[in-house]
């Protein structure tokens, strides 16, 4: 039994980096001024907030720091982007999105659909990839917005937002919103070069604390304000800035830039994924087989005819943290909507486990995981009524 946990759930949240904590700490204590105050103490806070804005803009490859607005979380950024665009374009009643979006987009679009908007839900193929022709065909003169993610939280599959942006621009007046929550800090972002109008970021996915996010709004982009009050964030999101958290997000973005951990993360993920797929029977990779089309940190693997929750519980007992798309809870017994959209059969989807690595993982942690996993799978397979068929 290990003392320390092995945290392979970095798509859920990440550890606050010591550098980030160090940067935010003074603002939780002695540096408590209000950035809107006229005195020097307040103006120092303003400078810190604006510095953070530049750090975020730099990480996103934005043209200007003023394109960054701080929010409380990724969900807020996604919700605001979508609602804000629709409010600005009341005559345009059509939205295009995909079946595999995070709930922050998917459930909001479903809600808008119930309230009278028309939503085109783009399908994905068995590897979770999008067909750009279907996107082109879906665009209409009254399409207000196209919303899609850059990286899928469950499978790590990447959507080609650069190409999608071009298709949207060339074929419609729609604005293009990208949920970038899972991508920032993991792959390069070049908003300056992409035809992206809005881009959502969440702090805690990249080693900042929970409680802070950002929304990129392309220069000149019109977006109805989220909170109306004082003039903070240039009148677009009133409310006193959460200075410690804003500073943390800025530093986290800078950290991702100055020390790119993705080569290490990629090599650990590849090792883990290869070993599981090679050595454990009845496994299946969920998502793009071409690793260039996936985040470097994510491996979503199904153990056929096993229950994901059982695997999670056994790994949990071994102090290894992962996720499953099929947790049994009060609200839903349904397996992941993302895997369902990919046409993954139920018997496969129910045994899906998401391993998502991060900058603090080590090779010995991957080796440890690989040392305990086969026995866990073997034991659970021995309990399954399908065991005979699996062997046969």
């Amino acid at each position: 039994m290990r003392d320390e946990i092995v945290y392979l759930d970095n798509n859920a949240t990440t550890r606050v980096a010591p550098e980030v904590f160090g940067a935010m700490r003074p603002y939780l204590a002695e540096a408590y001024g209000n950035p809107s105050s006229a005195h020097t103490f307040g103006r120092e806070m303003r400078r810190s907030v604006e510095h953070a804005r530049e750090q975020v803009a730099e990480a996103l490859g934005a043209s200007d720091a003023n394109e960054i607005i701080f929010t409380s979380c990724g969900t807020e950024s996604d919700n605001w982007a979508i609602r804000g665009v629709l409010e600005e374009r009341p005559a345009m009643r059509h939205i295009v999105t995909t079946r595999v979006e995070h709930e922050a987009v998917r459930n909001l679009c479903a809600r808008l659909e119930r309230s009278g908007y028309e939503v085109t839900w783009l399908e994905v193929d068995e590897e979770g990839l999008l067909d750009l022709e279907s996107l082109r065909a879906a665009l209409r003169p009254d399409t207000a917005l196209v919303s899609c993610m850059l990286a899928n939280n469950e499978t790590g599959v990447l959507f080609p937002v650069e190409e999608i942006g071009r298709v949207v621009r060339e074929n419609s007046d729609a604005l293009f919103h990208v949920d970038g929550v899972q991508a920032v800090g993991k792959i390069p972002i070049r908003l300056r070069e992409w035809e992206v109008d809005l881009f959502a970021v969440s702090g805690h996915k990249l080693h900042a604390p929970k409680g802070v996010g950002a929304l990129y709004v392309r220069e000149g982009g019109r977006l109805a304000p989220f909170l109306v009050g004082g003039g903070q964030e240039r009148g677009r999101r009133a409310g006193t800035e959460a200075v410690p958290y804003v500073v943390a997000l800025g530093r986290a973005c800078e950290l991702a830039q100055e020390s790119d951990a993705s080569p290490l993360i990629r090599s650990l993920r590849d090792k883990l994924e290869d070993a599981i797929l090679d050595s454990i029977p009845c496994v299946r990779l969920n998502g793009a087989r071409d690793r260039a089309r996936r985040l470097p940190n994510t491996a979503n693997i199904s153990f056929e005819n096993l229950e994901g929750e059982n695997i999670l519980a056994r790994l949990d007992a071994a102090r290894i943290c992962v996720s499953t798309g099929s947790a049994c809870n009060a609200e839903t017994h349904e397996p992941s909507a993302v895997l369902a959209a990919m046409n993954v059969p139920y018997s496969v989807a129910r045994g899906s486990i998401r391993f998502s690595l991060g900058r603090y993982n080590t090779e010995s942690e991957v080796d440890y995981t690989l040392s305990v996993l086969p026995e866990i799978i073997n034991t659970l397979a021995g309990m399954s009524p399908f065991e005979a068929e699996q062997k046969g």
Partner: protein, 191 residues
């Protein structure tokens, strides 16, 4: 802190009676459309003693289902058929001090698999039945003669006593009026 509550975790970590009874006398398979769980229960039954002598399970479902099935098999081993037929969900869930409502169907699934296994056994017994005597309790394969013998030997007066003595009437209950008649006939003759 464990993933599941202590008693559930204990049975999930070390489930009892996993597997299939070889050459089982009874098989019950129950599935849930709600959560896609599947449970297979196999039993060995001592026909003379009308008792379950071995019970094993295989399950595809959450840790609660595995724990419930583990407790079920422990509970019904060495249990007379009549008593196992009357077993309800709480006999399982009480062992865990209750389960959350959303996991309640795990125990229901166990109860269903047991019911189907017992039905499977009774169906097989009925098919095998070649005796000359009238079969009164088809659930437990008890003949009229056996019931009369039990009444005579133990001076039984009620259907309940008959059920306790020879299992007749413990299953679906459809033969209870017949047992009532046998009791009436017997005591009328005696008087």
């Amino acid at each position: 802190m464990s993933f599941y509550p202590g008693p559930v975790q204990q049975h999930f970590d070390h489930p009892r009676n996993v597997g299939d009874v070889e050459g089982a006398d009874a098989l019950g398979e129950a599935g849930s459309l709600k959560c896609g769980a599947l449970l297979r229960l196999t039993l060995r039954i001592d026909a003379a003693g009308q008792t379950i002598t071995d019970a094993r399970f295989k399950a595809l479902g959450c840790g609660y289902l595995i724990a419930c099935a583990s407790v079920l098999t422990e509970t019904i081993k060495e249990l007379p058929l009549a008593r196992s037929a009357l077993l309800n969900e709480s006999a399982i869930t009480d062992w865990f001090g209750g389960v959350p409502p959303e996991r309640g169907h795990c125990a229901e699934l166990c109860r269903e698999a047991l019911r189907l296994a017992l039905a499977d056994y009774h169906n097989a017994r009925q098919e095998e039945w070649t005796g000359e005597e009238a079969l009164i309790c088809t659930c437990f394969g008890v003949s009229e003669q056996s019931i009369e013998r039990a009444i005579r030997t133990h001076a039984l007066r009620t259907v309940k006593e008959v059920t306790k003595a020879c299992n007749a009437g413990a299953g679906c209950g459809s033969c209870r009026p017949l047992i009532e008649d046998i009791l009436d006939d017997h005591w009328r003759e005696m008087s």
